[in-house]
Subunit: 344 residues, 2 copies
Amino acid sequence: MELKNDLLIRAAKGEQVERTPVWVMRQAGRVLPEYRATRARAGSFIHLVRTPELACEVTLQPVDILGVDAAIIFSDILVIPEALGLPYEMDEGKGPRFAEVIRTAQDVSRLSTTEIPLKLDYVSKAIQLTKTELNGRVPLIGFAGAPFTIFCYMVEGQGSKEFSKARRMLRENPILAHSLLSKISEATIEYLKMQITAGANLIQLFDSWAGVLGPDLYKEFALPYIKQIFNSIPEVPRTIFAKGAWFASEWFAESELETIGFDWTVTPQQARAWSGNKTVQGNLDPSALYGSFEDIKKSTKEMLQNFGTQKHIANLGHGVYPDIHPDNLKCFIDTIKNNQTNQI
Amino acid sequence: MELKNDLLIRAAKGEQVERTPVWVMRQAGRVLPEYRATRARAGSFIHLVRTPELACEVTLQPVDILGVDAAIIFSDILVIPEALGLPYEMDEGKGPRFAEVIRTAQDVSRLSTTEIPLKLDYVSKAIQLTKTELNGRVPLIGFAGAPFTIFCYMVEGQGSKEFSKARRMLRENPILAHSLLSKISEATIEYLKMQITAGANLIQLFDSWAGVLGPDLYKEFALPYIKQIFNSIPEVPRTIFAKGAWFASEWFAESELETIGFDWTVTPQQARAWSGNKTVQGNLDPSALYGSFEDIKKSTKEMLQNFGTQKHIANLGHGVYPDIHPDNLKCFIDTIKNNQTNQI
């Protein structure tokens, strides 16, 4: 199936584009009333994730309603711990919670990396369904959590401001930490290969908790696993989004990947300076969408100008907040699609 | 009262020191069993804060038990909202919670900036008591929250990962946000002047939530108020600790203040490069104290070497975690005090 709109793929590969492509982290989510309706029908978040027809439905919504240049498969980064044998529940409004956590070598040895694609077959089905429905309109992004971020949840058992329990394991028992990170990486590679086989056109790794590590620990416990994963999937363009890890940008620039995502604490000028010749993704402050249409247009145009017309994938600097009005999000997207100075 | 140990003050002023001074953020706190005992006697956190004899007692504990080169008055940054007329409660294990929050101009106009020193007289008394008990052994640090961090709590009503409600106000109603920030600053100036009169030898502003703002918003809504406060208290050395705001370091370097604190995501080399000629404070990863004595000594010595022997105040890159063993914290402190390469 040839893509009718392949702006995202060309921008990721560093090829010439007519205009900057745009998609939005969490575009398939609570910001859309249509999502909330499907979510209500599904009964639970986890049921929504596990039902290919429903996952497909919410994946397509932002393409139809917002007009973004890419779909991203609706799923959850925590399907990996679940497939490894550590199930979780999603407390509404509170986030994920694991009944059991990883503390010992025995806990790690009980995790099973076999048959990951079989266990996560519902994601493969959702991707295939979505590809059929998209019919080449836009590319489909596949994704996974980066190993350190998954590790954080498996050790801490829930969200946390600083994940000090997870970091404690890095310090007290680095061997154990590496054994867990290795298993997560192994499973993630199988999972992403499956996503690519099913039809994902680009892969993004989300390292949501990267910022709780300083540079030394990031280099030891996060970066090698990201590289290992990306080196295993050279078939598609690869994007890293490591929130709060501005300090790792130059290491990413030297790695085998196509695109570096930035959060909103980094200026476009810094992002360019730290990214070598790579494509950059981002990075408007999500809170900018609380502003007036006029303010949104102004800050979006400034961002476009600062990044330049090539090797840039426009996005927010983090997921869109659920209480943003969809019209404000659409204003951001339309400003990028219509920007005059953005045309060659 | 002349100080017997004035290493901290001399280092802050950029004067020559025989060895690097050390203190630890949250040194008076749950890491010490002696603190937990006093806290239990006090009945509640807020009662502990408001009772000068008890606040003095826990302020002295780390000086006696850990041998740090400075005491920091035991208090809470949220006494400022309370003095302005917005009281809070401290839910054990959950953090602060405000029954009412600031939403409108009427809410702001109800806040009263009069008689701040009278309302916070218990802090003045705690400082005076502590100075008497210290008897010049080490300097006493006074502190307050930076205005944007206080603003976050007053608008959001509780802790948050990203303070999107607080940031929403910056975008939707910048005039209202500035009026609230101005009142907070005004009260903070009165409060810090009172602390200095009572005997505080150095003032630190904690901008704990700085990192949720990108550089543009930080420059507009955070930096000007920090400057206003510091410009009002030239009598003592002034330290800013803006967690996550690595991007603001160069602005701090150009400001009227003595010391810039860094969290652990910044390398000592970057901290030096971004701080001009100022003294720097920090910045060992607090999770390093989960390691063995050997590991703690190694990373502490590395930190000392990277910062150099002058214009450095040793500290962690954030508050010490409550589940760190006091012996591990003492190992960090003793390594700094005994470091051979650290002597002139």
